[in-house]
Symmetry: C3
Subunit: 339 residues, 3 copies
Amino acid sequence: MRSYSLREVAQLIDGELHGDEFYVVNGLASLQSAEKHHISFIANPVYKKYLSTTAAGAVLINAALADDFLGNKLIVAKPYEAYAKLTEVFATRILPLPAIHPDATVSEKAKIGNNISIGPKAVISDGVVLGDNVVIGAGCYLGADTEIGAHTELMPNVTVYHGIKIGGRCLLHSGCVIGADGFGFAPTSDGWLKIHQLGGVIIGDRVEIGANTCIDRGALEDTVIEDGVIIDNLVQIAHNVKIGRNTAIAGHTAIAGSTVIGSQCTIAGAVGIVGHLEIADKVHITAMSLVTSSITQAGSYSSGTAMTNTKDWRKNAARFRQLDEMANRLLRLEREKKL
Amino acid sequence: MRSYSLREVAQLIDGELHGDEFYVVNGLASLQSAEKHHISFIANPVYKKYLSTTAAGAVLINAALADDFLGNKLIVAKPYEAYAKLTEVFATRILPLPAIHPDATVSEKAKIGNNISIGPKAVISDGVVLGDNVVIGAGCYLGADTEIGAHTELMPNVTVYHGIKIGGRCLLHSGCVIGADGFGFAPTSDGWLKIHQLGGVIIGDRVEIGANTCIDRGALEDTVIEDGVIIDNLVQIAHNVKIGRNTAIAGHTAIAGSTVIGSQCTIAGAVGIVGHLEIADKVHITAMSLVTSSITQAGSYSSGTAMTNTKDWRKNAARFRQLDEMANRLLRLEREKKL
Amino acid sequence: MRSYSLREVAQLIDGELHGDEFYVVNGLASLQSAEKHHISFIANPVYKKYLSTTAAGAVLINAALADDFLGNKLIVAKPYEAYAKLTEVFATRILPLPAIHPDATVSEKAKIGNNISIGPKAVISDGVVLGDNVVIGAGCYLGADTEIGAHTELMPNVTVYHGIKIGGRCLLHSGCVIGADGFGFAPTSDGWLKIHQLGGVIIGDRVEIGANTCIDRGALEDTVIEDGVIIDNLVQIAHNVKIGRNTAIAGHTAIAGSTVIGSQCTIAGAVGIVGHLEIADKVHITAMSLVTSSITQAGSYSSGTAMTNTKDWRKNAARFRQLDEMANRLLRLEREKKL
């Protein structure tokens, strides 16, 4: 476990230290659970009440709240951002050594950069190109001619099909599948005729992809994930989708084929977006909404109904089936009234 | 295939045998499809009609229905529970021998209990602790310092990150990912800044986790799954969620960060639960509901609308957009009436 | 990259060539992005506007539109079907050589057909039967006694449990899990008692299964997927479900236990279907609908609400909770009017 004096911490996050510069901390914790060897933070004024009781050895705090805490403090403009920086400093995961494990299967026709780590049971196919400082976890599979940019890490058991391009400083979590066939079939009198998926997937820099998420390859052109996109677990991204820069997509969301999503959008969890739509920049979709038409204006959008107890819900849901008829009856009453 | 006399079966399930104690059965089947070498059961009176025609060699039945069946029968208080016990007796899967396969990669710094089975291509990292009688399937990955309790079984291709604690007598199905990073990022003017996830995952005893389910590690503290929880396939459990004892979660459900769910809840399939909520004990959520606020009382809760044909649905769904306006117009009519 | 003269292409798709029979093409592209070495297609008249500007070397076109394009053309009755056929011709993926990789673990008790490819790190258990020309990708796991029909391909990191039967000419994408335990438990006073799942999974011929999709084994009898079914990514198919011939299921859909779905159905993405239902042939379910009762007639069915901006949605969703009461008030007004 690494230890830092508050003086060192202040330098790491460019904070203004008030208190004992030699005080040593070795971890991060919330105000409620912190002990004296922890550094904590307050990012939301609703937690102000915990400032008087926290045992934290020091607190990241902004100028507006600084007077409310009497202990060691580091004043920063954005405490949450400072906390995020410190999570990297205090991360305890031991990175694998730069070495190719003898139990990996690596093609002689792959181009391997410097300082690479390849875990046991990983399979690197012909023509793969790995940039410097890439980490390929145990059991990962990289198909032929796939390229991975510098400093990108694949956690164990990631599958990347052939001909995929992944940028630098990305993080792919276990079980994600990049480049499987898009769901394309032509209906015929004999059943479905497969449309072989000839496009690829292009993933930019600093993209994070969650566990068991799927990003399909394009039909003719590529599926594209731009720089800085973050994608949670179990997300489905169909063929030829394009996701704009710095958009965030929460868990269990599904985006159908050829839809283009702008930059800086936030798509909440379990959202469905049908195919061939265009979603503008800075659109926010709330949880479990279904998007069936393009969105041209930034803003927040929703569908669905509010939860109630099941007994009342049954009655209301039954009435939903009569809603158009109810609207017509209401209109009739209003008209009769006017006569 | 194992065979048992009805006398032996009666002992296994503590049942009262009426009929031929030497009759031999070698499998289980439903009343409709049973043959004479099968034992069957009736757990729900709606299937009473099949009692007169079933070919089953014997039936598990409760006292109330016993007179309706004339063949060999085993009278028990809870036929469904007795059937569940017999599924273990008649299970045909051959458990792997307690041995470490030569094609596994096992760290010398791992602590391996007695009677362990580790399949081919499994990777056991430094500091892993495996209790007695643990079974690790082919291709599983266990990260550094992860602990697995006695009698727990991981089916093939399970991924467990570093520092995770899993209790005893658990069953984890293929493709599940335990301990991937929670979806935590701080927004900055340059895009998303990763919040490294420093917490872990703690899973109790007798927990079953479905195929391709994801349980993320906590941000600072741990994600917690208590004893006896059962989780189906493709479920997303985000960072710092807590699931109480004996709660059941069906397939494709997603639970967002820091939500605390009580014990003995039943969450149906494809449910969405947003973050930072508290759900009381013994709450039931019906299929595909969205839960956006805490639930303080036991009971059944729902959201969504009832299915109709698409033509009518389109009309009703369009009216939903006018619902607040309709409510105001209705109120106006009522008021005008009173004047 | 393979090249074909238009004369050869015409023979491959049985088309009527108008133009230069010696013109050579080496790939497929959409009208908008095609270059002169590409062949393109028009399947939908809305894209007619691109015919005058496309740079494609030739176009697949039907007789009705043929006069609208002046360049090389191949007249066919169904251009989309012809395009689908050509995607196979121009597919660039290099199939693995028929060989068992030395890093695979193959039981001596498995029966291996002719012309088989088994990738590195694949595990083939005792009693497995592989038909001729089967391709097993890297890292796949096949449990004991599983059977795979001729010409079926498993992409890397597929998991198939014991005793599963998969037909011929199927394609299974990475991360899918076939034959995990159905979610069956008996409630007892001590918690959930596992019902061991003694059934299997039977998959017909020409079935495609998407990445990270799960198909559970049956409780006593089998889960059944009939010939020609196509299933997208991240789909959950629970125990004892039956899916009829040529039905298509889009991504993120969940089908609960024992539901029987007819043939030639199209289930859109993120649909939920509860257990123990019967769905007729040729039923279409629109995206993110919840199906809670059996459907006896072919046709299109839906549930859910239409998207609006979140502010309006909040008001309407709140009114949904009053819908039954509103309906009663409306009826009262109508009755009072009549008096």
